[in-house]
Amino acid sequence: MAKNHLVCSNVRVKYPEFLLTLDLSVEQGDLITLIGPSGCGKSTTLQLISGLIPCDSGQIILNGKDITNLPVWKRNIGLVFQEYALFPHLNVERNIDYALRLKHLTKKERRAKTAQLLSLVNLEGYGKRKVDQLSGGERQRIALARALAAEPEVLLLDEPLSALDEKLRKWLREEIRRIQQETGITMVYVTHDQEEALTISDKVVVMRDGQIEQYGTPEEVYSSPATLFVANFMGLGTLLPTTLLPSVLRSFEEYEEPSESHLFFRPEDVILHSDPSLPFPEYLPHLRFKGARVVNSEYQGGRYLLECEWEGYTIYGYSATKIGGDNLTLGVKVQDLNYFEVK
């Protein structure tokens, strides 16, 4: 049974132009990602949890123990920096066993542990290398191994892949997820990349202006965003006023007018028809937009993203084939709609 492992309750920190408030609990063995635009307080959150900056008020609890006023070095919380910060005066082995030496492990124990960590990150035999001989991806994994050597209760990662190219990033995020699952360590992972957050996390925290907008599973934040900000930040979508509903809704059931001003749906939820005489193959309640015109079609490898114009509104949808023309019918199931109040 998973239990709350790391809890931040009512944590506040105030700067002249910025206020961060944090209420968050992370379960043992989970990997959660913090995502949001730059300046939203993601990195500050990590600094707070690690103790590198003090909180003005509130409590941070780790394993039921209040660590709010504990100095950094007593917290047992690891942090992998964006720029890795591998000590340049030490080689790979000495970087990794830095924490082991602080704990006065014997040479034999240190050797065994370092070798084990190097093999965990798939870098066996790298011990004697200098850090400036490593590639970006190798540095990143050594930084991870060094942080794990201290056997932290929680590992924080501050945009650990942002300095790497796309291909390497995709591979390394799988590596991090694998290592997290092998070791069972609780991880808090900061990223600005939506795809990264959705693929590797157990839970996602979407932040904005020092506040948590939504905390949920990747599916929840993507498909059922709590706010319009989360909806837009996590991916592309179409926003339409709910006043259109009576004219486009097809339903056999009783229709209840929503109280919110706008509705939102993702391009995946759009069903396309190029022949308007064909009926939609399903009988679920849905919205039907007739006579849409393809304004732009963008090939994304495997599918096309269509930008359609319908009565002055823009609607986004995907298509497996290349579609053009100006007599397209678009359908969206009511169950896929999200409603937001927009001022």
Binding site: R75, L79, F81, A85, H89
Partner: protein, 549 residues
């Protein structure tokens, strides 16, 4: 959002480490100043008096020497700049053979004791020196260079043009070429681009170098004392020395010291302001390929490098050359000989001065590192106010520091150990700002993430200091220590005023040898001093290279 290094502010470690160092340095620096102040304002019969300052400011002689001091400093600065600017242009823009040699020249004055410059000038430009010998062979009569106003300016330029060259060339090199390229695409010719784009952007570096050089020349002492050779060329510092040690007018010397400090403070403030503008203009590093020079430019580069080399190395090499030349027979012809060295090593007084110099320099090296390293650790993340404070000693010349410690020594019964201690303390005060200025930029280069990651790995602030910061600073500490050693072993001004028979160091002995026209002996001792200075840097650089490679 987060202030860099905020975590360190909440740690008591650096405060505990740096506070004693700061207090000690303050005490060492303020004690001589305080006693100078009291001498200036307290009458012999007790009670506060303004008469000394009044007397000083109503005496036309004061204005004459102040005027001369400012004038010679200004002229020396201008000449140094004129010599340096073409070199800075070449170093910053061209790739040529011997570039490294010219760059290496710029480091010489920092480690060269001033008494060596004086001696080198006497040997190189004297009536039987290399220049006049060459002129004589061409049938041009010996020209008098020494003991003229020109000699002072030349010696100051010798000392300071490499400083300007180094500072301006480095800054120039790092200016992005983007703006001159834009200017060219907008139709500006090269000269126009230089005047409207490059020169204004270089200005902070030029002004910063100028104020620094002005400050050095304003407080220059031994060059005026020996090469000036007379009351006509008396500056504030020479006059302070004269009153303190010859006419024993301590009150007058104290009042003059205050005047000197006040003027120097002004230039320190200017220098710091220009320096700040320099750091504001720092640009992202880029890859710029330096041009290969065209034939005409090649000739110019060759001539400039050659003249610069002769100008800087001529006096130094003549010291070494002369130290190995002695008359073969009584009548005259000079041949290779080790006679002067034999004489030196048979003279117990000179052996003693070597031991004294080495002992003082060793203690000063350790002492100033112990004071400056903790200060640098704290200044790394602390505000500017403290840093400004650490720069204040620049406004107080070594003559004045020596004078202050001399006044302190009059309060006690003087013994050999007290004299030794006071000289060591004075040297630490003089060396520490240089050590701090060497360490601080290197300390600031250590990314805070190294410190922070160490803390998250379970190391305390103290452990992080020992295991991460100090090892990363190793090279800078070695260089700073070498500077302290070179400054101390070459220190002349304070030692002359403060010292007595127990603290006769190598530069003092050289001064006496020069004054008694024993130039050959001075050259032999000077060669040893020069080798010591270069040797310590050679060791440091070798060690650094080995630990890096």
């Amino acid at each position: 959002m987060k202030k860099e290094g905020a975590i360190l502010n909440s740690s008591r470690f650096y405060r505990a480490l740096s506070t004693p160092a700061a207090l000690l340095l303050t005490l060492l620096f303020l004690a001589p100043l305080a006693i100078i102040l009291s001498k200036a304002f307290i009458a012999e019969e007790g009670g506060v008096t303004l008469n000394r300052l009044k007397g000083l400011f109503s005496d036309p002689y004061t204005y004459r020497i102040l005027g001369f001091t400012l004038m010679q400093a200004l002229l020396s600065t201008l000449v140094s700049l004129l010599l340096a600017l073409p070199g800075a242009y070449l170093l910053a823009n061209y790739k040529f053979r011997g570039r490294g040699v010219v760059k290496a020249l710029t480091t010489i004055p920092f480690i060269l004791p001033s008494i060596l410059v004086v001696l080198g000038f006497v040997i190189f430009y004297g009536s039987s020196g290399l220049i006049n010998t060459l002129l004589g062979k061409m049938g041009v009569g010996p020209i008098r260079i020494l003991y003229t106003f020109g000699a002072i300016i030349m010696a100051h330029a010798f000392y300071n043009f490499p400083i300007a060259l180094g500072l301006i060339a480095t800054y120039w090199e790092n200016l992005s070429p983007l703006y001159t390229q834009v200017s060219a695409t907008l139709g500006a010719k090269r000269g126009k681009s230089f005047r409207t784009i490059t020169l204004p952007r270089l200005m902070p570096a030029i002004l910063s170098a100028s104020t620094l050089i002005f400050l050095f020349c304003f407080t220059s002492f031994v060059i005026l004392l020996v090469l000036g050779g007379g009351p006509r060329f008396t500056t504030l510092e020479v006059e302070i020395y004269r009153r303190a040690k010859m006419s024993l007018d301590l009150g007058g010397a104290a009042a003059l010291s205050l005047l000197s400090i006040a003027v120097a403070l002004l230039f320190v403030a200017l220098h710091l302001a220009f320096q700040r503008r320099m750091s504001h203009q720092e640009e992202a590093p880029k890859m710029v390929y330096k041009r290969a020079p065209a034939p005409l430019m090649k000739l110019f580069i060759f001539l400039y490098s050659l003249l610069a080399l002769i100008f800087v190395l001529g006096p130094l090499l003549s010291i070494i050359y002369r130290s190995f030349r002695a008359p073969f027979t009584r009548s005259g012809e000079l041949v290779f000989s080790l006679r002067w060295y034999r004489e030196l090593f048979n003279n117990p007084l000179i052996i003693r001065s070597l031991i004294t110099s080495l002992a003082i320099a060793a203690i000063v090296t350790v002492g100033s590192l112990l004071v400056a390293t903790p200060l640098a650790a704290r200044l790394r993340y602390r505000g500017k106010a403290l840093e400004l404070y650490a720069m204040l000693p620049m406004a107080v010349s070594s003559v004045i520091i020596g004078f202050g410690y001399y006044l302190i020594s009059t309060l006690f019964k003087r013994g050999p150990s007290l004299s030794f201690l006071l000289v060591v303390l004075a040297h630490i005060v003089i060396a520490s700002p240089f050590v701090l200025r060497t360490l601080l930029p290197e300390y600031r280069k250590i990314a805070f993430s190294y410190t922070e990651v160490s803390l998250t790995l379970g190391a305390t602030v103290g452990q992080t200091f020992r295991k991460v910061e100090l090892p990363l600073l190793r090279g800078a500490i070695a260089t700073a220590g070498a500077f302290a050693f070179a400054i101390s072993i070459g220190e002349f001004n304070a030692t002359l005023i403060l010292g007595d028979i127990n603290t006769t160091t190598v530069p003092i002995v050289m001064y006496r040898l020069i004054n008694s026209y024993n130039f050959a002996g001075a050259c032999a001792l000077g060669t040893i001093l020069m080798l010591l200075c270069f040797f310590i840097f050679f060791i440091v650089e070798t060690l650094k290279r080995r630990s890096n490679g």
